[in-house]
Amino acid sequence: MREMLLAMGYDRWVLPALLLIPLAAAAIILLLPGDAERRWHSARAVALAAFTVEFLVSVGLWWSFDPATPGWQAAVHMPWIPSWGISFSVGIDGISLVLILLTTLTMPLTVLGSWTSVRTRAPAFYTLMLILTTGMLGVFMALDLFLFYIMWELMLVPMYFIIGIWGGERRIYASVKFFIYTMLGSLLMLVAILYVGFHVGNPAAPPGFGYDDLLTRLSVTPVAARWLFGAFFLAFAIKVPMFPFHTWLPDAHVEAPTAGSVVLAGIMLKMGTFGFLRFALPLFPQAALDPTIRAIVLTLAVVGILYGALVALVQPDFKKLVAYSSVSHLGFVMLGIFALTLQSVQGAILVMINHGISTGALFLLVGMLYERRHSRLIAAYGGIARVVPLFAALLTIVSLSSIGLPGTNGFVGEFLVLLGSFRTEPWFAFAATIGLILAAAYLLWAIQRILFERLDKPENAGLRDLNWRELGLLAPLIACIIWLGVYPAPVLRRTEPAAARFVHLVEHGYESAHPAPPRTPIIQPPKARGR
Amino acid sequence: MLAESIALSALLFVIGVVGVLTRRNAIIVFMCVELMLNAVNLTFIAFGRVYGYGAQAIVIFVMTVAAAEAAVGLAIVIAIFRHRQTVDLDSINLLKG
């Protein structure tokens, strides 16, 4: 398979093609003729076709990617603004690979999920979704900080409109809040990017934004590194979102249309954690591993896990509940990244994927329910398992995956994060494990109040069960839930070199600045005790 | 020769400015703006004659822009008149922040 793809020159054109296909489809949609009804039908068909092609093109990466080969794969470098050292450089490692595949898998499903629910200004909606996709994929594959920033902003604008136009009742408030929060962080990041661009190697030399270049030749003072890390941290922490910066998330999730929520939770939240993995830590290891900063970040991560879970427990709105559960899950990712062991980082990557799948599926399911009854409130339902058994079965499976039941994907990721974190940060890992108990509590209680108990609302008695389209769009997600739970080894094999490289880069960068060993595990191996 | 030309254009420009500041009819204000533009054109021509003809190329640009501006501007004025039945600038404050 790999040989066949390489013979086609696959790895030379695939990444630019992935960026261009959505843009081309967006242009086609804008040119569609006909009245509103016909344009709606043709726009969604074009969008679905484009996303399907996009997925089929991207899926070849799974085989063409060779974990044994070091360095970036399928890389493409083209000069862009040479005088400022800016180039169009894209390439992938294992982490980008899985996130790109997650994106291309999710997008066709969101189109199917909006198939009947988005009717007003449908061409604009699908155009924005397509542009958004280019932005997200660009973020995952950019190897140039300037390109990265462009892509980062490119995905912000379409999401603003998607929430603001097709959202719920408080959509304007939510979209503005989302936009300003994100913008605040990303503008500071822009300043930081420009600063590092001008501090590569010789100060007299022209600036450079190439990622590899920055890794090897960036020279900033420790104080500057802290400020720069702070700027990146704020941008990414808002996006994750970490604990005190999370309040945009519940509003944005709740008000966004189904497709918006799915993309937001499933993919866009991973931009933040991906940013930590790719940029914030490897570029400024001495700042990131500073004991105080590290303790603060780990504390925020664990607080996020417990806080998100506890607040989710008391949410009357199911979408809000899922939003707070995202705060909790992404806390695991942050814990895994900053615990900095191979297992914890591998787990963090896996939790990113799992959260994309499970939470995406949860939002799709809520969307289906909302389409039928126009209510997101848990109290509006009850006992509907009897009338919509298929829906009930799928919601239960997806919830169990989100709870982290072994045999589903959720378990493997969280297990690795906690086990890996336990090696370096046992107390934080210990506290985070409590989050697993709370996860069971809030989700089981919610699905009990939705699916079980008495069917006491007359308007629920006539609910339609899932149709073929809805089943079909959920089936790939359910398949992934089981597959990644039972046999995650292929994914882990592909991400392991990238995770190992990340750990090495950060630890090496830190130790070169601090000759003494940075950390001593609290629980020492017995031999070290000298018994 | 140069001094006289500049004096004339300055005079024309001031007439234009005073017209813009004092008149309330949109059309007249518009004409005064054109007057100011042409005052500037005159300066350009005069200087071009002394220092080289490159400056006169700018005049062509200005005339082009002025033509486009006139087209758009008059269209706006007509549109406003259709809506409000007036072109009195004091009664139009759509730009209020």
């Binding site: 072994p406 493997v412 297990f415 906690l418 409590i434 089981l444 008495r454 629980i523 | 922040g97």
Partner: protein, 734 residues
């Protein structure tokens, strides 16, 4: 350290003695029930997704009148009703399901027997490990999907599939009229699958898959009749309380991995002696966290509260999951980690103390319960306490022995109770009465109506009470006897528990065990007297409808009755001259031998055989006294009727189960919810949002100043422009 390593290498090179026998098929054991689950789940889904004309749920789906549908659901969850209100027709695929469900487990049992035959021939001394694929490979963590077959896991497999198959058969009749018939068997098969994964897994993470998987099935089956809120609540409670235990299991796994770098049983066994300091804090902490996991799964103090509520599930489920198999997983975990516990005497003593306190505590509550299933639930908690007493004292064989016999007689008791409830429910249903079919105050005198059930229930009662020659006598006697021996000499005696010498603790545990055994005899006899003897209190109208269950239900009962009667001969003590002694002990020796030897180190040579005999006599006397006391006390006083005056004093406290549920609710659940709602959500989130909004307001205010300057009049702007231009000119032109 070199010699064992070489030995291990040599063993790895040579094929295991079990390879080439039926044991090669061990992977198929869980696949049978998994296949059953898939078929039944598909049938359940198809039946509801495309309702056929014969499906009773068909008109329910298309019910145009919403209230009609609502009433239908309401009528579907009888308050305490176990046998659901019979709907008009059987499940559409009932015949296929009836075949697939029990057959899947039956085939697994047949395969297990074949493997047992092979193993009995070879009697291997090392575990037979089959590795299938890499499950979680991440750096130096390598968790494989692998099964481990040894005497311990096979014993459990035989119990699970054997008792499981009987209970599946029973369910065919018991659940036959339920509209969720296919769903029921799907869950039940899935449970057997996960249970087999639990006992066959070759590493802690694989065991954890089964561990949480059975919890899931338990959740689904407790809430099987989910239309009733109490049932759904009970299922959720079971899952969450189990999760608290699983938290301990996870932490223990993390500690093990950090310390030993492996999570395979074989790896841990090999690395533990060198990698952990015997009696040190680390191994003790590991064992205590494992114990937390066991307390959750096996319903021990302080996490026992879910099990009584779990009786909301169908009665066969209570028999299979909440008596015979799943709840004993904690005992299995301790035995599986026997070496670790043997290295941590303080933790072992904690296990034993927890078991003893639970056994006594639950037994007292069992004295005052009126719901027949609740009595059995507390009895199960109490018997599990006995098992933990045993494994805590290092009597691993005794613990497993009691696990096996308990599976026989407790499954029998539950199924018998199910048969009684079935009859009661049918009678009340026929007479349209709304009395409680599970309340023993409504029973009485059923002996005449249900003779087969009556005899079999008595056999089980004598077994659980510990009457000599019945199954429970031998296992309970062995537990108490071994604890007595350990108190005489073992590393536990020399250890300390909270500053108390281990010997004292063990003698206290022995005493508590005797009292608990006495109470067991009392409450079980009370149950039998109230249910089967005396005057019938069911009601004049309902009485003629009471009748014995169909043969499909009594058949499995008969098999279990036979096993309860003679199961004790699996492991007769050496001092009793009946049959081959200590069969089970010899069978399990390759697995539990090292740990037992370690814990029993320092025991005084050969114990006096007369002492063993004396201890047996004491145990038998206690059981007999309990039965007599119950008969005398209840025989004198008139039977209490339903709705009689409430108890007072200590009796009231017992009837209300020491108010533990209420304490948990008011002390933990409600404060946590209130804290989350008021402080975290409305407080912290509100504060953060308030600060953000405040920041926004400041900028809006600044913008307002700028906005005020925008009058909207072009004339004003033109003036400003000209003035500005003049100012700039004035500054620049000097």
């Amino acid at each position: 350290m070199i010699a064992p390593a070489l030995q291990a290498a040599a063993l790895a090179a040579a094929p295991h003695p079990l390879s080439g026998t039926a044991a090669d098929w061990v992977w198929a054991l869980p696949l049978f029930p998994l296949a059953g689950f898939l078929v039944n789940a598909a049938l359940a889904v198809v039946a509801v997704a495309r309702p056929g004309p014969a499906d009773p749920s068909a008109d329910r789906h298309s019910a145009p009148d919403a209230t009609a549908a609502g009433e239908d659901v309401a009528g579907h969850g009888p308050g305490a009703g176990d046998a659901d209100a019979p709907p008009p027709a059987r499940h559409r695929f009932a015949s296929v399901v009836s075949l697939v469900g029990p057959l899947a487990v039956g085939l697994a049992f047949a395969l297990a027997c074949a493997i047992f035959a092979a193993m009995a021939r070879v009697h291997p001394t090392t575990p037979f490990v089959q590795t299938y694929f890499h499950w979680i490979p991440a750096g130096d963590l390598q968790v494989n999907a692998a099964f481990q077959l040894d005497q311990l896991s096979l014993t459990l497999v035989l119990v699970i599939t054997g008792v499981g198959a009987l209970i599946h058969l029973f369910s065919v009749a018991y659940m036959g009229d339920d509209p969720g018939y296919a769903r029921y068997f799907a869950y039940l098969n899935l449970f057997v699958f996960f249970m087999l994964v639990l006992v066959l897994g070759a590493s802690y993470p694989v065991m954890f898959v089964g561990w949480e998987g059975v919890g899931l099935c338990s959740y689904l089956l407790i809430g099987f009749w989910y239309a009733d809120r109490a049932n759904a609540d009970a299922g959720k409670k079971a899952f969450i309380v189990n999760r608290i235990g699983d938290f301990g299991f996870l932490i223990a796994m993390f500690l093990l991995f950090v310390q030993l770098g492996t999570l395979d049983y074989t790896g841990v066994l090999a690395a533990a002696p060198g990698g952990l300091e015997a009696g040190g804090p680390v191994v003790t902490v590991i064992c205590l966290f494992l114990l937390l996991g066991c307390a959750g799964k096996s319903a021990q103090i302080p996490l026992y509260v879910w099990l009584p509520d779990a009786m909301a599930g169908p009665t066969p489920v209570s028999a299979l999951i909440h008596a015979a198999t799943m709840v004993t997983a904690g005992v299995y975990l301790v035995v599986r980690s026997g070496l670790l516990f043997a290295m941590a005497p303080a933790a072992s003593l904690t296990v034993a103390v927890m078991g003893a306190v639970t056994a006594l505590f639950a037994a007292t509550i069992g004295l005052k319960q009126w719901d027949i299933k609740k009595v059995l639930a507390y009895s199960t908690i109490s018997q599990l306490g006995f098992m933990f007493m045993a494994v805590g004292a290092g009597a691993y064989v005794a613990g497993i022995f009691h696990l096996v016999t308990h599976a026989f007689f407790k499954a029998l008791l539950f199924l018998g109770a199910g048969s009684v409830i079935h009859a009661m429910h049918a009678a009340y249903h026929a007479t349209h009465s709304h009395e409680d079919a599970q309340d023993m105050r409504n029973m009485g005198g059923l002996r005449a109506r249900m003779p087969v059930t009556w005899i079999l229930m008595w056999i089980a009662t004598l077994a659980i009470a510990g009457v000599p020659l019945f199954a429970g006598f031998f296992s309970k006697d062995e537990i108490l006897g071994t604890i007595f021996d350990r108190a005489g000499g073992s590393i536990l005696r020399d250890a300390h528990w909270l500053g108390i010498p281990g010997g004292v603790v063990l003698y206290a545990i022995y005493g508590m065990g005797l009292v608990a055994a006495f109470l067991t005899a009392v409450y079980m006899t009370r149950l039998m007297l109230y249910t089967f003897h005396g005057q019938n209190r069911t009601g004049e109208a309902a009485r003629p409808h009471l009748h014995e269950a169909p043969w499909l239900m009594t058949g499995p009962l008969l098999v279990l009755g036979a096993l309860s009667a003679v199961g004790g001969f699996l492991n007769t003590p050496a001092f009793l001259p009946i049959g081959p002694a200590e069969t089970l002990a010899r069978w399990l020796d390759p697995v539990v031998g090292p740990a037992t030897a370690l814990i029993a180190a320092g025991a005084p040579g050969d114990a006096d055989p007369r002492r063993g005999l004396l201890l047996s006599l004491i145990a038998a006397a206690v059981a007999a006294t309990g039965i007599v006391v119950a008969v005398v006390r209840l025989g004198r006083s008139a039977p209490v009727r339903a709705g009689a005056a409430p108890e007072t004093g200590i009796e009231s406290v017992l009837a209300h189960r020491y108010y533990v549920d209420e304490a948990y609710d008011r002390g933990i659940v409600r404060p946590l919810l209130a804290f989350s709602n008021r402080v975290l959500w409305q407080g912290v989130d509100g504060l953060i949002d308030g600060l953000v909004t405040l920041g926004a307001r400041v900028w809006v205010w600044f913008g307002g100043i700028g906005s005020a300057l925008q009058t909207g009049r072009v004339g004003t702007y033109a003036w400003a422009l000209v003035v500005g231009a003049l100012v700039v000119l004035a500054i620049t032109i000097r």
